[in-house]
């Protein structure tokens, strides 16, 4: 705290982490297209929205760090949940008309987000059914950063 003003803890994604998020996000976006049988040419994505989502996740993590004791930090699952939430909320993926008839296109952005954070932060197998259910939850129902984080925490804890 400086001059009576409270401050959030210092925290930011390193350049390497930013680079990994961006490159792997695009890979998983194309993978999600493959899962649902959507052609990549029917999808566009916004680099700007992707960057804004990651910046917002940084603020979320700083807030979570502030709420915890400095010696214990934030779990891998909560970081995964925070980024998955932001990547599902910002307007990153845009569909051309040819994609509108695909019955799963509403899950594309969320599946890409979920696969990305599982790989980067959880680093454990999460069954495909659970990945799909969280993607649906993020897309059509409600899950905030920390409830999505609890989902991933459970798999980290299970693996030991």
């Amino acid at each position: 705290m400086i001059d009576g003003e409270p401050a959030l803890p210092e925290f930011s994604f390193s350049n390497d982490v930013w680079s990994r998020i961006f490159s792997d996000y695009v890979s998983f976006l194309w993978k999600a297209c493959g899962v649902f049988g959507l052609s990549q040419k029917h999808i566009e994505y916004s680099d700007r929205e992707l960057a804004l989502a990651v910046k917002e996740a940084e603020i979320d993590i700083r807030a979570m760090l502030a709420r915890r004791s400095k010696s214990r930090g934030v779990s891998h699952g909560k970081i995964a949940g925070g980024l998955a939430f932001r990547l599902s909320r910002f307007k990153i993926v845009h569909f051309k008309e040819e994609a509108w008839d695909n019955s799963h296109f509403h899950l594309i952005q969320e599946l890409a987000a979920t696969l990305l954070v599982r790989k980067l932060f959880v680093q454990r197998h999460v069954p495909e059914a659970n990945i799909l259910e969280l993607s649906y939850q993020l897309s059509r129902r409600h899950a905030n950063q920390e409830t999505a984080g609890l989902f991933f925490d459970a798999f980290v804890a299970e693996a030991g």
């Binding site: 409270p6 401050a7 899962v35 603020i59 915890r68 400095k70 891998h76 680093q123 799909l132």
Partner: protein, 63 residues
């Protein structure tokens, strides 16, 4: 949140409340940017997504 100052003040109020209630979150790990960097550096480079496993669950013909 658009106003980091308001967010920080909100957290400070919650921390004062928590001083009387104890730690709530039991899952911990990453404390610094460097620790997160080290975690991500260990993430595998290869892609382990089984497209057909997802397709079977969704009733989509497999490749």
């Amino acid at each position: 949140m658009d106003n980091p100052q308001l967010l920080a003040e909100s957290i400070e109020r919650m921390m004062k409340y928590r001083e009387t209630r104890g730690e709530v979150c039991l899952n911990h790990g990453i404390r610094t940017s460097e620790e997160l960097d080290a975690l991500v550096s260990k993430a595998p480079k290869d892609d382990d997504v089984d497209v057909n496993a997802y397709r079977r669950l969704l009733g989509i013909p497999t490749e």
